[in-house]
Amino acid sequence: MSESFDFSVLDRILDEIGCEQKSTIAILQAVQEHYRYLPHEIFPYLSKRMGVSEAKIYGVATFYENFSLDPKGKYVIKVCDGTACHVRKSLDILERLRSDLGLSEDKVTTDDFMFTLETVSCLGACSLAPVVMVNDTVHPTMTPDKVSALIRELREAK
């Protein structure tokens, strides 16, 4: 177990949510909200406190798409590629973002940890397709030029 890792964050979360197995997903969500990813140090610690095997907790973390074992950027950009967005050409938007940010299918986070680029199956904002979500804000009826402008704006805002 890492010496330098601060486990008080986990203690606080466990005290609030409880240590039962049925809370595994809620606990991991709270941890991810704090760190923006799941640091590997948490698994042995959670296992000990919850009395659930490390494999089981890790299994949950890898099963669900929203959990990330890698650190994410300050701005998580989700390009919706649901059906409605797809037929209104969301892939063109994804391509533009990849080229603007120098990212690819395999490299999803910029080196300065400013941006993480993901696709998502549907944000439920289909009537405004194509949409892009930056953290929790939905940006409607996007075009490649509009996303380029959005990136410039976010870069300047830092």
């Binding site: 197995q21 997903i25 809620a26 059906t83 289909c126 009537s127 409607p140």
Partner: protein, 624 residues
């Protein structure tokens, strides 16, 4: 806090009088669509202007009637997202669309003070001005029953839910009905599950009610994962109390005292609104122990999903609530016998629960009066894609596709012709011109090889390639396959590989037959609904658009011109000025030519990236 029936009735009457007494109500749509188009700023601006002008306005519904007050309401989604942001003004019912901050002053001066309509903000169609909400064809052709009040009240106010008759069903089932009568009423109404399969809710409830185990659960499936569907999101965000009330009726009928709502991770607003609604109901004594002084107790919990489509499947969903990997299991035993925590469980979808209070209050006979006998009631659809009026609609079951697309949807967007509608998401199929007059209900669609699913309707025009659509859905299902059973895990992978080959121009003779054979095997042998239905989009597109598949495979041609790798790029020598911009932007050096003379593209080198088209200032490069 209400401790008995009388107190609830009095509060409801008090809030109804207060609501009706409001001189005028300014309802600003604060659904996701309108918020992202700036409706919150419009709400603030209107409020600001009214306060500056000394107009008496109130955001909260007051305890006593104030006949001079203007009520300001942040409502749920009106459904007409295409025209966002929307502002409705009652009692006149004026509907203003695409409202901008600059319009607020005129709205205050003309409508709020003078009661006059600002015509330039009203909907104009075919030369006619539609001033009020009820006149607009988009709304007048609908039957809004489940969504009946969400465009008139504050979506986050339990007082306003009470003002429009909320928690009457709860009151009725607690004091005027036995659990058996509740099950009977729901069975009699023939309410069918809105999650996709269309199983009779009454039958499910009676099976759970029959179980001897004293511990039972009521679970709401809010894991609306179908891409292109957002009906349940709207109910959870805009009418959380109605859905919760439906769950309480189910709990009373089946003898459960604990409930869980499983909400998709991508819906943070829904989670917040449900949490608020639970808090409000608990404070009023409508949730908790000994509700309204009876022996009925009910506690509700919310579980947030973590991004797994398969969790929409019943046994995967309960397993996820238990804190495990969301994988389906073999059935039987069914969820009604061994569901959540291995206890008998009622599991219904959001829209199904939202229908329940209506049936209890108005009776099964009333409900059966809407739509056909075998699928009564209304159904909400998310109308999206290449149609003019996108948004959320509610129509009686049995409405035809033509009415939905042309009367409500306003026809096709842009110049292109109608080609198909994808219904039911990744488990559904395509409907074409020949199905235009088919009634949309559970049984008719099944016969046509499609399904209602949760209610996503994606309209596609002639620029959409159906093979690419099939590939898109297969890619989705393949990604979401949980990996437990071989037919789904391996079969979808193989089908996707074939489809990817076809759209890349590498299709081979026999591919169509192989796809159909795989589809047949997967649908017969997969463990859960996700796998069983995985091949539906492929089978249905092959059935209706076999010629498109053949064009891709044999002619290496995409008739819709959508598949990039099958496109051909040529330079029109009469338009090309020889500026060399395309040649400089071509990443593989496939464009040759002298300066100021027409250039040419070498098809052997071209990777069909389209960079030349995007960069040509003279529109000289043709795609085909």
């Amino acid at each position: 806090m209400f401790t008995n029936r009388e107190e609830l009735i009095q509060a409801r009457n008090r809030y109804r009088l207060s609501y009706e007494a409001e001189k005028r109500r300014v309802v600003v749509c604060c659904g996701t669509g309108c918020v992202s188009c700036g409706s919150l700023e419009i709400f603030d601006k209107l409020k600001d202007l009214m306060e500056k002008n000394g107009i008496d306005c109130a955001v909260e519904l007051q305890e006593d009637p104030h006949p001079d007050t203007i009520g300001m309401k942040k409502s749920g989604c009106h459904g007409f997202c295409e025209m966002a942001p929307l502002v409705r003004i009652d009692p006149e019912g004026y509907l203003y669309t695409k409202v901008k901050l600059e319009d607020c002053e005129e709205i205050v001066n003309k409508t709020i003070l003078g009661g006059e309509c600002v015509d330039r903000l009203a909907i104009k169609q075919d030369g006619k001005v539609y001033r009020t909400h009820d006149e607009v064809p988009f709304f007048s052709k609908q039957t809004r029953v489940v969504f009946d009040y969400c465009d008139r009240v504050n979506a986050t106010s339990v007082e306003e839910y009470l003002a429009v008759g909320g928690y009457q069903a709860l009151e009725k089932v607690l004091f005027d009905m036995t659990p058996e009568q509740i099950v009977e009423e729901i069975t009699e109404s023939n309410l069918r599950g809105r999650g996709g399969a269309g199983f009779q809710a009454g039958k499910k409830w009676s099976q759970v009610a029959r179980q001897k185990d004293p511990e039972k659960y009521v679970v709401c499936n809010g894991d609306e994962g179908d891409p292109g569907a957002f009906m349940d999101r709207s109910i959870m965000e805009d009418e959380p109390h109605r859905m919760i009330e439906g769950m309480m009726v189910a709990a009373r009928a089946c003898g459960a005292s604990e409930g869980y709502i499983y909400v998709r991770a991508e819906y943070p607003v829904a989670v917040a609104r449900l949490n608020l609604a639970i808090k409000q109901a608990t404070e009023l004594g409508l949730l908790g122990d000994n509700i309204l002084g009876t022996d009925f107790s009910f506690h509700l919990h919310i579980n947030r999903g973590a991004g797994a489509f398969v969790c929409g499947e019943g046994s995967a969903l309960t397993s996820s609530i238990e804190g495990k990997r969301g994988m389906p299991r073999t059935k039987p035993p069914r969820t009604v016998e061994h569901g959540l925590f291995d206890k008998p469980t009622v599991l219904n979808n959001v829209e199904t629960y939202a229908n329940v209070p209506l049936i209890i209050v108005n009776g099964a006979e009333w409900y059966k009066g809407i739509g056909p006998a075998n699928s009564p009631g209304t159904k909400s659809f998310a109308l999206t894609g290449n149609v003019r009026n996108t948004g959320l609609i509610e129509v009686p079951m049995g409405t035809t596709l033509r009415e939905v697309i042309y009367d409500i949807g306003g026809g096709m967007r842009g110049e292109n012709e109608f080609k198909a509608v994808q219904i039911g998401g990744p488990s559904g199929g395509c409907l074409t011109e020949e199905h235009m007059d088919l009634p949309l209900d559970f049984d008719s669609l099944k016969k046509a090889g499609a399904m209602i699913g949760s209610g996503g309707l994606v309209v596609m025009d002639s620029s959409t390639c159906m093979v690419e659509v099939a590939r898109f859905f297969m890619n989705f299902t393949q990604n979401e396959s949980c990996g437990k059973c071989v037919p789904c895990r391996e079969g979808t992978k193989r089908m996707l590989a074939i489809l990817e080959r076809i759209v890349a121009g590498k299709g081979e003779d026999g591919d169509i037959e192989l796809l159909l054979e795989l589809a047949d095997t997967i649908s017969h042998t997969a463990l859960c609904g996700l796998g069983k239905a995985a091949a539906n989009p492929v089978v249905s597109t092959i059935k209706s658009f076999r010629d498109e598949y053949e064009a891709h495979i044999y002619d290496k041609h995409c008739p819709a011109g959508a598949c990039r790798k099958l496109r051909h790029y040529t330079i029109d020598p009469t338009l090309c000025k020889g500026c060399t911009k395309c040649a400089r932007n071509c990443p593989v050096g496939a464009i040759q030519g002298e300066i100021r003379k027409p250039h040419t593209i070498d098809p052997a080198k071209c990777i069909k990236c389209g960079a030349c088209v995007d960069n040509c200032p003279f529109k000289a490069i043709k795609e085909g």
